[in-house]
Amino acid sequence: MSISKEQVAKIATLSRLSLEEDKLDQFTGQLSSILQYMEKLNELETTDVEPLYSPVEQTTVLREDVVEKKFKREELLANAPEDDGQYFIVPRII
């Protein structure tokens, strides 16, 4: 299985990456070889194997519905490129 240059370009757009032409070619080649390598897994007989959704064997970790406040707002806003002490400020969306 291989991946087309158009597919790579689409994935890049969905991931908000802008790639130069040579990078597109490079990644198309690299991703294709990764996918070909993964193809090997398809040789295995998996009819009776349940799909594995997580490599962690544990299931169902739950917490009780209890409110805790561990951080102040100013700490949480501290890393924002722009804020007004209350809101994050971002380039206008609509």
Binding site: K10, S54, F71, Y87, R92
Partner: protein, 476 residues
């Protein structure tokens, strides 16, 4: 021109009334200052891990049980990937392949007919934040308080055939959520939201037409009108030989139209995959059984019981059981004063009118079941007339004053006891033989004078209608 039918499926998002968020311990309280209810987890900081809220699971399962779903004892969480500033992680944690519940249904009533609407699935997910846009400053302000508030999405089968059915289905779902006390069901504030998928086809055709998705409908009325508009629009297109384009459209309530949402449809490529940060959710059978036992009486059962137990007409029972608060108020009132039909009449007319005018719920009102019970009782006892009862209703409803104390304090208590009034009338007539003589000789205008005399002696508290009637009888 062929006859068309519409095919509608609804997606409902219901905010769950947990105290803390679905994957972190932040408060879900509404109306806090921007970004007060946040932490590194719901802000999507690198390296944080989500931990599922057990109460959110309980609520999702309770809803699933209430709408006859099959519970998946193993379900998994997935990432739905898209970029938007109110979604700090760049993905929404949702459920995709294995949702918590599937294959349910509810029964709705439209035009006196019962209809079953299938529920495809119910899944759990997290809500996104909110942004405020400023055109003047050319920026958007982002508040992440809502980010991570637990939601369930309830997806219907495309079984709905008209806007009326859509609204009936939504009202039924909302009522169940509120009965379960797991959601506020407030459409304006967004704790109960609905998107619609709608297509049309010539009646009799099996295949579905191309559908559009409608968003931004903030009330039942909006849903009804948006669907009506969209059906007309799609029929016009098909009649003109054009094609319906598959797209998302927003309802504009001011203009009562739907219009295409701006932005690229390509963004609809969500690339779902299992969230590696969350292990599968495996529900123990004993939890499910416990939650099943905790289910309250649901609206449909309560409706049937109200008809059976109180002998109410279907319409009365429907209105009273639509809201749990209203049903409870009714039952408490009847418990105090056992006149179900009279209580229902007052509730359906006066009580609902006052609630609508004040735009409040019965629980927010000062008017209590004991007040309504007392009001009906003093009318039944003849202390005041039904007419007086209606005229003072607004006042006692708003103040929560005891109706009997109110009418006594205002001197509005009537003498409606006809034997007591007869005695007064006889006294008056006996004291005024000349006037009686003149009346009998044709001066019938004197009737008003006699009424006045009776009123004087009863300090204005005689029932005037009754006084007139008795006087006429006595004077022949």
């Amino acid at each position: 021109m062929p006859e068309y039918e519409s095919v509608i499926g609804l997606e409902v998002h219901a905010q769950l009334k947990t105290k803390s968020k679905i994957f972190c311990s932040c408060s879900t309280e509404f109306g806090r200052e921007p970004n007060e209810n946040t932490c590194p987890v719901c802000m999507g900081m690198p390296g944080v891990l989500p931990v599922l809220n057990k109460r959110a699971v309980e609520y999702a399962v309770k809803m699933a049980l209430a709408v006859n779903c099959k519970i998946n004892q193993k379900s998994i969480f997935a990432r739905k990937n898209y970029f938007y500033p109110d979604l700090p992680k760049g993905y929404q944690i949702s459920q995709y392949e294995l949702p918590v519940a599937e294959h349910g249904y509810i029964t709705i009533q439209v035009g006196g007919k019962e209809k079953k609407i299938g529920i495809t699935r119910i899944h759990m997910e997290e809500d996104a934040g909110k942004s405020v846009h400023s055109a003047a400053e050319n920026v958007s302000y982002v508040d992440l308080n809502r980010t991570g508030v637990p939601l369930i999405e309830i997806v219907s089968e495309p079984d709905i055939r008209s806007p009326e059915e859509a609204v009936a289905y939504l009202k039924a779902l909302r009522s169940i959520l509120v009965y379960l006390e797991i959601c506020d069901g407030n459409m304006e504030e967004g704790s109960f939201r609905c998107d619609a998928n709608i297509s049309i086809r010539p009646r009799g055709q099996k295949e579905f037409g191309t559908r559009t998705e409608l968003k931004n409908m903030n009330s039942f009325r909006h849903v009804q009108r948006a669907l009506e508009y969209e059906i007309e629009r799609q029929i016009d297109l098909v009649e003109d030989g054009e094609e319906v384009v598959q797209e998302t459209r927003l309802y504009d309530a001011d203009k009562n139209i739907t219009r295409p949402m701006r932005g690229k449809e390509e963004a609809h490529d969500y690339r779902y995959f299992p969230d590696p940060d969350l292990v599968p959710l495996v529900l123990k059978s004993e939890w499910i059984e416990q939650w099943r036992k905790e289910l309250p009486e649901l609206p449909a059962d309560k409706l049937q019981r109200f008809i059976r137990q109180y002998g109410l007409p279907v319409y009365d029972a429907e209105v009273l059981t639509a809201e749990k608060d209203l049903a409870d108020f009714f039952e408490q009132t009847v418990k105090i004063y056992n006149q179900p039909k009279k209580v229902s009449n007052w509730m359906l007319s006066e009580v609902l009118r006052e609630l609508n005018e004040a735009r409040i719920k019965i629980g927010q009102s000062k008017f209590r079941p004991e007040n309504l019970a007392k009001l009906i009782k003093i009318i039944d006892d003849g202390l005041i007339s039904g007419k007086i009862g209606k005229s003072i209703f607004s006042e006692i409803f708003n103040t929560g004053q005891d109706p009997e104390e109110y009418v006594r304090a205002k001197g509005m208590v009537q003498i409606s006891d006809s034997s007591a009034l007869e005695q007064v009338v006889e006294e008056v007539l006996a004291d005024l033989p000349k006037e009686v003589e003149r009346y009998k000789n044709g001066q019938t205008k004197l009737l008003g004078f006699f009424v006045g005399q009776v009123m004087k002696r009863t300090k204005g508290q005689a029932n005037p209608g009754l006084v007139n009637k008795i006087l006429k009888e006595k004077l022949g």
